[in-house]
């Protein structure tokens, strides 16, 4: 099985603190991690390879530093990693990113399965992987909580999708793109040998020219949306602490909640 894992690098929100707000964290040079949702992406791809053989290629679009996310992927055990990076690609929206990823997927060549995450924690659009499937015209199975059956000979995949009000079992043809949710597995830690191997790895970097993309067809200029980002309004502490023993406090709280008309 040839599997492509879509992996994004995102700011490391665990580093947020009173001294490090969201803007500082997102600024160039800030601390970065593999998008937490894409740890499940990688684990899903690796387990599929372990069961069916073949190879996993991790694909990431991002600035040069995003190679670190691919080093993590290599340390976890992917066979190959490709970084797509070009200054012209900066500020691509989800669809412009999807177009670039599709060009890279075509260059990688044959695949049976593409795995992506539910969303990336930075932009939280939950759109890029979906749009990759739409542009490739391959079946999409999103929000996968369990891979029931992945059958390369029968060319089908059966998966359980975690929806808001239901768990839905779906069978699809292969090749397909799936997006995964946290419930699907427990991502492995990079092994020591893996970390050493990854440190030595030479990760290819593909730019517009390598992908046959016109620089004017990527990046901010080719995006359907423009965004401006700010810190959220500061919230004043306005808590009312309710004192007293359990019965008294319960009475006061229920009074307040009824005044607020929330119960």
């Amino acid at each position: 099985m040839n599997i492509i894992a879509l992996v994004k690098q995102t700011p490391d929100t665990a580093q947020l603190s009173a001294a490090m707000d969201g803007l500082m964290l997102s600024a160039d040079g800030g601390p970065r991690i593999v998008n937490p949702w894409d740890e499940y992406t990688l684990e899903t791809a690796l387990q599929a390879r372990e069961e069916h053989g073949g190879k996993v290629t991790a694909l990431c679009l991002g600035p040069p530093e995003a190679a670190d996310a691919l080093k993590t992927a290599l340390a976890m055990g992917v066979d190959e990693a490709v970084l797509v990076s070009d200054p012209a690609m900066a500020d691509s929206d989800s669809l412009a990113s999807a177009r670039i990823l599709v060009a890279a997927i075509r260059k990688i060549g044959d695949f049976d399965l593409i795995v992506g995450g539910r969303a990336a924690i930075d932009g939280n659009t939950a759109a890029t992987a979906v749009q990759v499937a739409a542009l490739l015209g391959i079946p999409l199975v999103s929000y996968v909580a369990k891979l029931r059956n992945l059958d390369p000979s029968d060319r089908t995949v059966t998966a359980v999708r975690l929806l808001e009000k239901a768990r839905e079992t779906v069978t699809s043809r292969l090749p397909a793109l799936i997006t995964v949710v946290k419930e699907i597995n427990e991502p492995r830690y990079p092994s020591l040998i893996g970390i050493r191997k990854a440190a030595r790895a030479d990760i290819p970097v593909w730019g517009c020219e390598d992908l046959g993309l016109d620089p004017s067809g990527v990046g901010a200029g080719a995006s359907g949306v423009v965004w401006r980002t700010e810190l959220p309004p500061v919230r004043e502490a306005h808590i009312e602490m309710i004192d007293g023993g359990p019965e008294d406090a319960a009475r006061t709280l229920v009074d307040r909640l009824m005044e607020e008309k929330v119960i």
């Binding site: 929100t13 947020l16 969201g22 964290l25 997102s26 937490p36 989800s94 669809l95 924690i121 939280n124 659009t125 939950a126 759109a127 890029t128 979906v130 749009q131 499937a133 739409a134 079946p139 999409l140 999103s142 929000y143 059966t158 975690l162 929806l163 808001e164 009000k165 768990r167 839905e168 079992t169 779906v170 069978t171 699809s172 397909a176 419930e183 995006s223 359907g224 949306v225 423009v226 965004w227 401006r228 980002t229 810190l231 959220p232 919230r235 502490a237 808590i239 009312e240 602490m241 309710i242 359990p246 019965e247 406090a249 319960a250 709280l253 229920v254 909640l257 607020e260 929330v262 119960i263």
Partner: protein, 328 residues
């Protein structure tokens, strides 16, 4: 230039999802300033009643498709159909709820249409004649203001429980346009082989009241009082990741960055410290109550009411009081 609005009405088995009427309310909010008409689209198997409701909710025109292949939402047939409908509705603002289906469908059709997308928005306004969408980013630590380029379609999904639908107006009239399915069953690449609905329990993302437990509940049994309070209030049961990771409660209950984003009227957190990743999922609740034995936890910065005490004595007392006062 005036822009028309088109709202996709999400449905299951001939019943509209309440988020669809919230998307309609969001459309109504900007329709006046955008100066266009309000159109709805509903696809399913037996959706006549929903089409009628869409008109009562404000649509001037409704596209309906009735076909057994559309009974249960699947992305490919709905996306192809919506893309086809949009060919007749040039440069529209396409709105839907940011449900699992809405997030997916909007992204898919935006890709087919080559259009811009603003997902999971918490506010919409019009500046001049331009639609502006507000959406949280970086798990609530940033706010993005999104505008659209070009003059084609623009896609927006709205977060659940933000826009309040007005009462339906039974006197409204509108046009119903029937369209055929875009794909036959054979052309649809996926089959739904079983559906397990979470019966009886209130869905987290739709609940107007959520009572959550964290590491402070101490174990699976510790969720009993928390669940009893949720039941007494007719609310849903939530959890922090710490409690989920400990295996005390299934992942479906997790609230936060890697769980569900919720926006209930009331969020009661029992034994939850209020880590940034948990706050990301619930800090926009209208009223937040924190019950924590510690007198100083991060959640108190966001909570409206706090009780510094042992949850095992306070939570059951609150449940008792609720039953007494609300007669449940």
């Amino acid at each position: 230039m005036a822009s028309n609005l088109l709202v996709w009405i999400e449905q299951v088995d001939g019943q509209a999802d309440p988020i669809a009427w919230q998307a309609m309310a969001a459309a109504e909010k900007v329709a006046g300033d955008l100066g266009g008409s309000l159109t709805a689209a509903v696809f399913g198997d037996g959706v006549g009643e929903i089409a009628r409701q869409a008109i009562e909710a404000g649509a001037d025109r409704v596209y309906t498709a009735d076909d057994p292949s559309l009974a249960r939402y699947r992305v490919e047939p709905c996306a192809k159909l919506l893309a086809r409908v949009l060919e007749h509705e040039p440069s529209s603002v396409v709105l839907m709820g940011a449900s699992t289906a809405g997030l997916e469908l909007s992204a898919y059709v935006a890709a087919l249409a080559g259009a811009g997308l603003a997902p999971d928005c918490t506010d919409l306004h019009v500046e001049g004649d331009r639609l502006t969408a507000v959406r949280p980013a970086l798990v609530g630590n940033l706010v993005s203001t999104v505008t659209f380029r070009g003059t084609g379609h623009r896609f927006v999904t709205v977060r659940r429980n933000i826009f309040q639908p007005a009462d339906p107006d039974a006197t409204r009239t509108g046009e119903i346009i029937t369209v055929p399915a875009a794909l036959s069953e054979d052309e649809i690449p996926t089959r739904v082989t079983s559906v397990e609905t979470a019966d009886g329990t209130v869905s987290l993302t739709e609940a107007s009241i959520i009572v959550s437990g964290g590491r402070g509940v101490g174990g699976p049994e510790g969720f009993r009082p928390v669940r009893e309070l949720a039941d007494a209030l007719g609310g849903a049961l939530g959890a922090s990741r710490a409690a989920v990771d400990a295996g005390w409660i299934p992942y479906a209950h997790q609230v936060g960055q890697t769980g569900k984003t919720v926006q209930p009227d009331l969020y009661i957190a029992c034994g939850i410290s209020g880590a940034i990743q948990h706050l990301a999922g619930m800090k926009n609740a209208r009223v937040i109550v924190a019950i924590n034995k510690d007198a100083d936890v991060p959640l108190y910065k966001y909570a409206h009411y706090g009780i510094a005490g042992d949850l095992f004595s306070f939570v059951p007392a609150i449940a008792e009081e609720v039953k007494k006062r609300l007669g449940r």
